[in-house]
Symmetry: C2
Subunit: 688 residues, 2 copies
Amino acid sequence: MIGLGSKSSVVLATIVALAPFAVQADEGLWTFESFPAAKVKAAYGVDITPAWLDKVRAASVRLSIGCSGSVVSPNGLVFTNSHCVTDCAQAVSPKDADYLADGFLAAAPPEEKSCPGLEAEILQGVADVTDRLKSAIAGRAASDVVRARNAAVSAAELEGCGDDQRLRCQVITLYEAGRYALYKYRVYRDVRLVFTPSAKAAFFGGDPDNFNFPRYDLDVAFLRLYEDGNPVATPDHLVWNPAPPAARESVFVPGNPGPTERDATLAQLGTQRDVIIPLSMAELSELRGRLIRFGEEGDARRRAAASDLAQVENDYKVRVGELATLSDPTFLAAKQSQESDFQAKARARFGAGLGDPWRVLGGIATQSKALWPAYRALAAGPYDSKLFDAARTLVRAAAERPKPSAERLPEYADAELPQVAKGVLDPQPIDPDLEQLMLEFWLSKARERLGADDPLTQRLLGADSPETLARNLVAGSRLADPAVRKALWDGGSSAIAASSDPMIAFVRRIDADARRLRAEYEAKVAGPTALAESALAQARFAIYGETRYPDGTLSNRLSYGAVEGWTDRGQTTGPFTTFAGLYRRSTGQPPYDLDAKWKAAESELAPGAVFDFTTNNDIVGGNSGSPVLNANAEVIGAAFDGNIHSIGGDYWFDPMLNRAVAVSTAATTEALRKVYGATALLAELGVR
Amino acid sequence: MIGLGSKSSVVLATIVALAPFAVQADEGLWTFESFPAAKVKAAYGVDITPAWLDKVRAASVRLSIGCSGSVVSPNGLVFTNSHCVTDCAQAVSPKDADYLADGFLAAAPPEEKSCPGLEAEILQGVADVTDRLKSAIAGRAASDVVRARNAAVSAAELEGCGDDQRLRCQVITLYEAGRYALYKYRVYRDVRLVFTPSAKAAFFGGDPDNFNFPRYDLDVAFLRLYEDGNPVATPDHLVWNPAPPAARESVFVPGNPGPTERDATLAQLGTQRDVIIPLSMAELSELRGRLIRFGEEGDARRRAAASDLAQVENDYKVRVGELATLSDPTFLAAKQSQESDFQAKARARFGAGLGDPWRVLGGIATQSKALWPAYRALAAGPYDSKLFDAARTLVRAAAERPKPSAERLPEYADAELPQVAKGVLDPQPIDPDLEQLMLEFWLSKARERLGADDPLTQRLLGADSPETLARNLVAGSRLADPAVRKALWDGGSSAIAASSDPMIAFVRRIDADARRLRAEYEAKVAGPTALAESALAQARFAIYGETRYPDGTLSNRLSYGAVEGWTDRGQTTGPFTTFAGLYRRSTGQPPYDLDAKWKAAESELAPGAVFDFTTNNDIVGGNSGSPVLNANAEVIGAAFDGNIHSIGGDYWFDPMLNRAVAVSTAATTEALRKVYGATALLAELGVR
């Protein structure tokens, strides 16, 4: 799955540099503003006009879960991946149903289910704010850079959108600290589930087939945008084209690629390879083992853990792929040569004036290694504890909201607060046994990383064991009740101070340390890194020109390419799979078993119809749910994964091997008709 | 814990080179034959005479579980670690008792419990067989080296010990392929449990405190050697000295250090760092997670999984420490400088005659990476499945025993067969739920590593899922019954062929592939590695002389040093802990909680008495249970661990930081008297 991944991915990604790479082949996470239309015209003969770009951008959706999507009907219907709605499907399932396992189809809009915490955003406009941001940072000490930047960002955002709750302004850092842009989004805060297939259909092949191809997944879902209780009118939607993709056909993928690290220095990559990734792999693995066993303890537990387990297994596989890339001699030689070339040219051009940002970043990498265990343990928190997250949000929001927006922790700035409030206040199911598991795991890992005698461990645990503390927190907390959360949110700091909820008390106890560690990390790592990378970004612009694309930032991008398979060590993999292939691969044993609907439909489905397909578009985590468009900007599929090589896309793009994996509209249409009988949905998509 | 570690450690260790390092400070895993007595005399003023060495060697015990020990009474009493007898304590517990958790003390010899599968060996003599082995290998193709060496080893062993069942001959490869020695051991095949404390006392602080110091563990146990149903007379035992160790006192540690890798080339270490260790960490972590959760499912499961979980956590911590060493710039610079010096001198001396063993080993490392997943999955097998291990042993023994000893898989050679038979035939409890967990985990990891479509995966699983196959194998197999195992052992290949036991059938199905993968690994990795390392060993002897020690080989060695703490980044840790410290550290929450006996004894125990202590002896995994001796060869403690830095001892010895951790005879004596009332045992130790 190429969703943005867990918190740990996000944390990881903020550790390393984001900056541009030299362009090759069909590589590129292009912004709409700097899309290389002339190059595409020359290579593919397709005219990507400004009107084409505007039309596509206006129907491209960013989902707050770290996914992408496209508007495909006049009534706010959004096409995305099933794996982008697993949390929603799990949360909106009534007691006697399991929409994640069994799928869901709303017979009509009144049956559509609002997804807790989920928002959708559509980009309205972009303004350059580079000068403004740079002057706010200029002359600051490295330790003060993050604070100064946060304040300037908050001010620019407030100015851009005011207090219009339908808008969200966000300053996007492009080319690492090379450029800053203010993105203005139209926000939809009521997003409802319309359709998702059963898990057996969406994730056929499960973890073993994840990041592999041939693939047979109907990893699709439909959501609908609502406002004031009604579906949103979206006349500027894209056209749903149910025709199958053709080999070598030109295709375009808009979406929101997450943080990539294609211009990290070798020293930064070494820290990733030697420390951060192996420890992350180990941590994810232990959690995976606990979750697998937890799921085997009974159906209710299997259901409660399903979404987290899928995410953990996905994150783990990404780490394995990243480590393989970072240990690949071909990759390392390419990076080395690129870095040497850049250093030589930079020295020739700037002499001593540039300083030595590479050495500085190497020094920061050492700092980062030393700070990592404590930062990871306290500042990042548990992998997925809804009670802890709610408590921390409530405690911090109470402390931050009275401050001027520019002085708050940036995630509590005015532009972010509505989403924060939605996230903490929307009702959602909370499984106490899973909470216990998550907290116990987090606390035991924190003790392991920090050591039993570290004062931070003692602050975390007191005289308790991780198991006892987790049990007491979960058993005693009333935060699973949305009304309790609402009262604490509304009551602000006096309510927080007065609360005897053990989870609130726990966060009160540890939050000063967590904030201190974060501040230390920002002062010693994030700030100095931004300065050094800014210097590198300027040098790159000067030496290599500005016709490059910025690293992924979970904001709107457009990738171009073609429907294509690949050849790896003499073995060629074609770009298409079929329904016949699905039934051939089905063994009847998980994860290769089909549900009753699919078994019944076998004779109905055209055996040779294209199911999933691959393209050579440059996409990464965050692109999940991105539409695959043909030259006419019609939707012919949805990207949901990459092949195993594509995981290296965090660090480079190998045009021979990296492939995006998509599910076709052809197969989706066929399945909606013959497996699901989704007549109304098909009609809305304009398919008869 | 510094036991030899799990199977995976053994497999790992065979991957890389074993060869000597340049000597510094008190480093050294010295053989008794080449102990640097003059150096010790000069540095410490202690006379280590040939008589001293003979006396100590004759009372030094090797335990087949991968531990060490010492004979400490005239009646075959062996002093070792509690963590070396966890499997035994678990296995001999009756249904209504848990000796591992609660401890065990035999009131008199008739109550002592024979440990399933456990043997003890005492070295009788050593003969050099270098020329014989070298000429057997000389001129062989790299792919034939392992087979030829196995045959020559088997012949030498047979010649050395004949078919005397009280003896075991073993060819030990020293200085990698630089020297070969025939070790003749006296074997004791009936080893009984006399005493082990409760887990709370032996492993106080649990995994968090493992490899840390200050430490408060009574990690001691007593075993007794039996023959023909009677305790063995051991007049040449060592003296138990209950006096506390003194700071800076000279101490000597005999024992059986396991495989170390101090002369691996940088290329070999790179494979470890980038591939093998991170994946091993991840695999151990997932198993750890499954075991932790399994143990939380109920007391019976916690008990069943306790020993495996402790081992997995220990192995994991070792991997983390190894990775830290292999990423440590100081270590890498030292290795680089050492390798460069060696290369330069070797080129100057041998010119092109030496070839380029470093380059060859680099190429083998690449081969090893490629073969690793399949080899690991099929040839190594599950982490700890007693049913699978029994089935494989029975299937292979039936195939191998009819062959001449020299043509068998070496672990089924005549010298090994009695131990193999004991291992498979001794009654031992087998927990079906834990078996299910272990098999399911192994099969799912094999599929993950190989890929779902690999023919080997399909051979392993057929159309089953890992979960289903594991369930069927465990539910259907009758191998938990020792009588069934005995019938298959005695029945040989016709009984194996006729068996309908599903586990036997499963091993029959996969064993050809497992053997083929092993043979391929030996031909492409182990054999060529032996040749290249042999060349390096010869060059090292020529350049650096022969006054060095060989890498650890799980055979008898002697380390010298002193009672000493250490200073790390300005923080000094003293060498002693006390009973008072134990009670201070006790929080009442696991793993810092004491049992009732210890709580009751608090006022009885001298608060300032030395409990555990550290020394600067060079010890590694396999030394667990080693006695710590004073200059008079009296036992003053038992080594049971190292500090966190000592884990790097796999790759180098840092005299400033690496420390052995031991429990004192002083504390043991005090606890036996005041906590356990073990009057008879104290009398046998000569303590009044």
